[in-house]
């Protein structure tokens, strides 16, 4: 059987950055939940991810998905030391805003807003873009994330110095780098394998 693309008919597709819960639909066929083998389940890492068409599409290469998922979880959830979760999510949101991933930005701006209690500032980043002024510390994190997101990357000594001046130590700066870098992985998958769908009422 020849493989084929899916062209979903979407009404009111999201056309702006938002913190609202929106959906995502694939352009290629995910595996069916019933067809998942042990190897696929290992690739999904969490059984609940079998509900997601995004992960059931990526699980067609289970070895990569498993390592990708574990990288993702450690970069964002391992917050015993280093940068607070809110600011890792800010780096993810800034990268997603810069690359133009409306879906990724919606998820991670919600996390950034929730963990920082600065929902209005996060909304300004979505509405006004990456040049927004949100105070020295957030400005430094956003600027570094955006510079690292550029191709070729334009992150320079001045960005490191600015993060350091804003009070981040080396481990925290490394966390900013990983948070922004990871979204240069995630944005490209989300943007190229499907598209956002409106909020489910």
């Amino acid at each position: 059987m020849t493989d084929h693309i899916i062209t979903p008919a979407i009404e009111n597709r999201p056309v702006a950055f938002t913190q609202a819960e929106i959906g995502w639909t694939p352009w290629l066929k995910p595996l069916a939940e019933d067809d998942l083998t042990e190897a696929h389940l290992a690739g999904l890492v969490e059984a609940s991810r079998a509900k997601s068409p995004y992960f059931r599409l990526l699980v067609r290469d289970p070895q990569v998905l498993e390592a990708r998922t574990k990288t993702d979880k450690d970069i964002f959830y391992n917050t015993r030391t280093g940068l607070p979760r809110a600011e890792r999510e800010l780096a993810a949101t800034a990268a997603s805003r810069s690359n133009g991933c409306i879906f990724c930005a919606s998820v991670h701006s919600r996390f950034a807003a929730h963990h920082s209690k600065r929902g209005d500032d996060v909304q300004k980043l979505l509405d006004e873009g990456v040049e927004v002024d949100l105070g020295d510390r957030w400005n430094a994190i956003i600027a570094a994330s955006v510079a690292l997101t550029a191709t070729p990357p334009t992150l320079g000594d001045e960005h490191i110095e600015r993060l350091s001046a804003a009070g981040l130590d080396e481990l925290e700066i490394a966390d900013v780098i990983h948070g922004a870098a990871f979204f240069n992985w995630a944005n490209r998958l989300m943007l190229s394998l499907g598209e956002p769908t409106p909020t489910v009422q």
Partner: protein
Amino acid sequence: MTTSTPDIIDLLAGIKPGSSLDRIRTQRPETREQAQKSYLALFVPDTIGDVSLVERQAIASFVAGLHRQPDIFEFYVNPLGDSEENRWLVEVLKAEIGAAQAVGPYGQYPAGPLSVENAQGLIYQVSKAGHEALGEKLAAALEHAHLLVFRPRDASSKALQALLDAGWTTDGIVTLSQLVSFVAFQIRVIAGLSLLAASARRAAA
């Protein structure tokens, strides 16, 4: 195989055992291990599936070249250059990289309030000579890699159709997408940590 492969991010970021950045990475052992496992899953996979090892090295070399990272380009292209059978690819890839340079991200948003942020840039197509040398499947992969690297917001189901038309399968497209996106991540971790290491060395001097 796994135990004999050095940590690629440490290698390419010049992170020496016992250095300040080594200690930083030691505090994130899972990130370090899983980034390495991601690399191995893509370049030393348990099963080759629908994307050959030569295709994987060639596409990663192209992605590193687009990011203008000579050391990372060399790292990915050297296995091709070392092989009698694949050496011809090196010059073809260099020529394509030369013609594919751009500054990203750029591209179009869906029509609406973000349209004012639309930015134009190169829509790369493999040269005629490159196409003849690389063949349909690899040429299509390079064009898709360029799309993902510089203008991911231009991605579309049509772009995936072009890959299917060129002989890619759905499974192969998933691996290709992971590969290009992973290398985009890996390059940025290496670039960021290299800068941080240099800054730490200056502070210690």
